[in-house]
């Protein structure tokens, strides 16, 4: 039973299109994240939600909009896709980041987005 699952695993689309990636976790965690791994393999945080509330929003274009319908789901919608959006997008979850949070995240398998 997969702890953090993302769909789709692969996504190939044309520039200018709008696409979504869905993420679900069954670990009972309060906090969820989206990370982007670019062509240089650098894993960079994009967003974080805690109990459906946005708590981290890095310098990400407005074309990227996360949505958290409940604390077990965090979806990523991307408008007007550009070539530079091609990357692997990882969803992750963790326990609530209180004092003493050790940084352990549980990642999904990743969604490889290719923009042509």
């Amino acid at each position: 039973d997969t702890a953090v699952s993302q769909t789709p695993k692969y996504l190939v689309t044309q520039m200018g299109n709008d696409k979504s990636i869905k993420c679900e976790q069954n670990l009972g965690h309060d906090t969820m994240y989206w990370y982007k791994q670019d062509s240089k393999k650098f894993l960079k945080i994009m967003f974080s939600y805690n109990n459906k509330e946005l708590i981290i929003n890095e310098t990400v274009p407005n074309r990227f909009s996360p949505k958290s319908p409940d604390k077990a789901h965090l979806n990523l919608h991307i408008n007007s896709l550009e070539l530079g959006d091609s990357a692997v997008y990882f969803c992750a979850s963790s326990q609530e980041r209180r004092t003493g949070w050790t940084g352990e995240l549980f990642f999904g398998e990743g969604s490889r987005l290719t923009v042509l």
Binding site: K41, L43, A92, R97, W101, G103, E104
Partner: protein, 109 residues
């Protein structure tokens, strides 16, 4: 500005020997340091962590060393096994988890 750096993109080690992966950081406010392991087509998985108030943490074959004065940490794997072949990411926390660029470890027989 990359706060967590792994300067060696790859490392090749013979089975049974020690693997040493290195990581440097710039932010003295980090409170935890972690190592994650990643196989192809999978997400990173947590391996081991260390608090900024400690200098060593050991878990089986894996030991992490922290040198705060040098802003350096390392992961030692002893003995190395072929199944350890993966990409290893160093990471550090403040209010968020920041990753290095990874080191690809290959353990050969």
């Amino acid at each position: 500005d990359q706060q967590v750096k792994q300067n060696s993109p790859s490392l090749s080690v013979q089975e049974g020997r020690i693997s040493i992966l290195n990581c440097d950081y710039t932010n003295s406010m980090f409170d935890y340091f972690l190592w994650y392991k990643k196989y192809p087509a999978e997400g990173p998985t947590f391996l081991i962590s260390i608090s900024s108030i400690k200098d060593k943490n050991e878990d089986g074959r894996f030991t992490v060393f922290l040198n705060k004065s040098a802003k350096h940490l390392s992961l030692h794997i002893v003995p190395s096994q072929p199944g350890d072949s993966a990409v290893y990411f160093c990471a550090a926390t403040t209010d968020k988890l920041i990753f290095g660029t990874g080191t690809r470890l290959q353990v050969f027989p």
